[in-house]
Amino acid sequence: MTVLIVVIAVVVVVVVAWLITRSRRTDDGVEGFRRQIDALSSDARRPTIDRGLGEEESEEADGSGGTDAQGDADDGA
């Protein structure tokens, strides 16, 4: 009798745990997608783009960056 109660208890615990995990996974999917879309919004991207271009412009101003393809083109062609 005791063994039966223990088995039933274990089964109940496993089923409840599975149901909780499943619902959390569904929430995770929705949450994850929302986070992804929010992270891709123009507002979220603006700091990255500004930062990226700002760094490169200052590097070019130092004379250590950028390409000189047009200058070379005039020399060679």
């Binding site: 919004s41 123009s42 979220a44 990226g52 070379d72």
Partner: protein, 334 residues
């Protein structure tokens, strides 16, 4: 503590974005080696200047062709040196996101991630170039509307339709601006009997190359080696000749764009007529290319504000929002 990095490992140029700092490196994907000892002599711009001008014991090579690694060992060494230059050491191992062409094979993907890990990355993930380009070009890909991006690189040309943060349709060809250079080299050799190097061919493309007639066209003097006499020789090259020389490559790129348009769902197709397509990548700077694509597809073509940096900026944004955007990594969605 190393700052995480995004790398646009292109056939032509390699750009590195450092988390919290921006673009910290922009150099040609070239490495110069001592042929006898295998020692690295130069990388980046310094090595690029050596192409075709080295003595016998030095070789300046591009370890990537068509967006794929052609020499694994050399690529690994190049990535290691790039990482060292941006402050990565044995004790500071950053997470790295690398942009690659969407059409690369599983073997090629593994080659890139392995090369990055061996070069010092703690974790290396890949993202498709057109997706990164769309993020970096600031297209509204978070909305349920059709965004079309055409990324013309050194070795690949990719066109993608993107909506709600995912690729809906994709078309890629392993043809890019290096194939345009090669076509010019072949034409000059065949029609004028002159051998020119790949750098000179690139310079011709930049100076007078075009995909469609333009209003300001000039001839160019081309200096090379006469194949008959072996002596230096100068000839005049016209823009019409260059257009004829590169026609096959340009047609291949335009056809790829048309195939991608035909794959797009109708609901998104109508968006392109209003929003247009966005051109990114160094190859997109070829004069008349936007007009040629627009003429053949009857869809407006717009140039991105950041054609050369769009891909690395997009990957940089992914590294800035690593957890939220990790589902965009290649292989994460399947």
């Amino acid at each position: 503590m190393a700052r995480d990095l995004a790398i646009d490992l292109g056939t032509a140029n390699t750009l590195v974005y450092m988390k919290g700092r921006g673009i910290v490196l922009n150099e040609p994907s070239v490495i110069a080696l001592n042929r006898q000892t295998g020692e690295v002599l130069a990388t980046g711009r310094e090595a690029w200047q050596m192409i075709g001008r080295t003595p016998g014991y030095i070789v300046a090579v591009r370890p990537l062709r068509g967006g794929a690694i052609t020499d694994f060992e050399i690529t690994e060494r190049m990535i290691r040196l790039l990482l060292q230059r941006v402050g990565v050491s044995r004790f500071t191992r950053p997470k790295v996101v690398i942009c690659v062409p969407s059409a690369i094979t599983e073997v090629e993907r593994r080659a890139v991630t392995d090369a990055a890990r061996r070069a010092g990355a703690a974790d290396a993930n890949l993202i498709e170039q057109p997706m990164a380009a769309a993020i970096g070009a600031d297209l509204p890909i978070d909305e349920p509307v059709g965004n079309m991006v055409i990324d013309i690189g050194g070795g690949t040309s990719e066109t993608a339709v993107i909506s709600l943060g995912g690729i809906v349709a994709l078309e890629a060809v392993r043809v890019g601006s290096f194939d345009i250079d090669a076509a010019i080299q072949n034409y000059v050799r065949r029609e004028h009997g002159i051998a020119i190097g790949e750098r000179t061919a690139e310079e011709i493309k930049v100076a007078i190359g075009s995909a469609d007639p333009t209003h300001d066209e000039n001839q160019a003097e081309v200096r090379g080696r006469d194949l008959m006499t072996g002596l230096p020789k100068t000839v005049l090259l016209t823009p019409e000749e260059v257009r004829f020389a590169i026609e096959d490559v340009v047609s291949s790129i335009v056809s790829s764009v048309i195939r991608c348009l035909s794959k797009a769902p109708p609901e998104l197709s109508q968006d392109f007529l209003v929003r247009g397509m966005y051109l990114v990548g160094g190859g997109g700077l070829l004069r008349g290319l936007a007009e040629r694509i627009e003429r053949e597809t009857e869809v407006p073509v717009r140039m991105s504000n950041v054609p050369l940096e769009a891909v690395v900026l997009g990957a940089g944004h992914v590294i800035e929002h690593y957890e939220a955007l990790r589902s965009m990594f290649m292989g994460a969605r399947h």
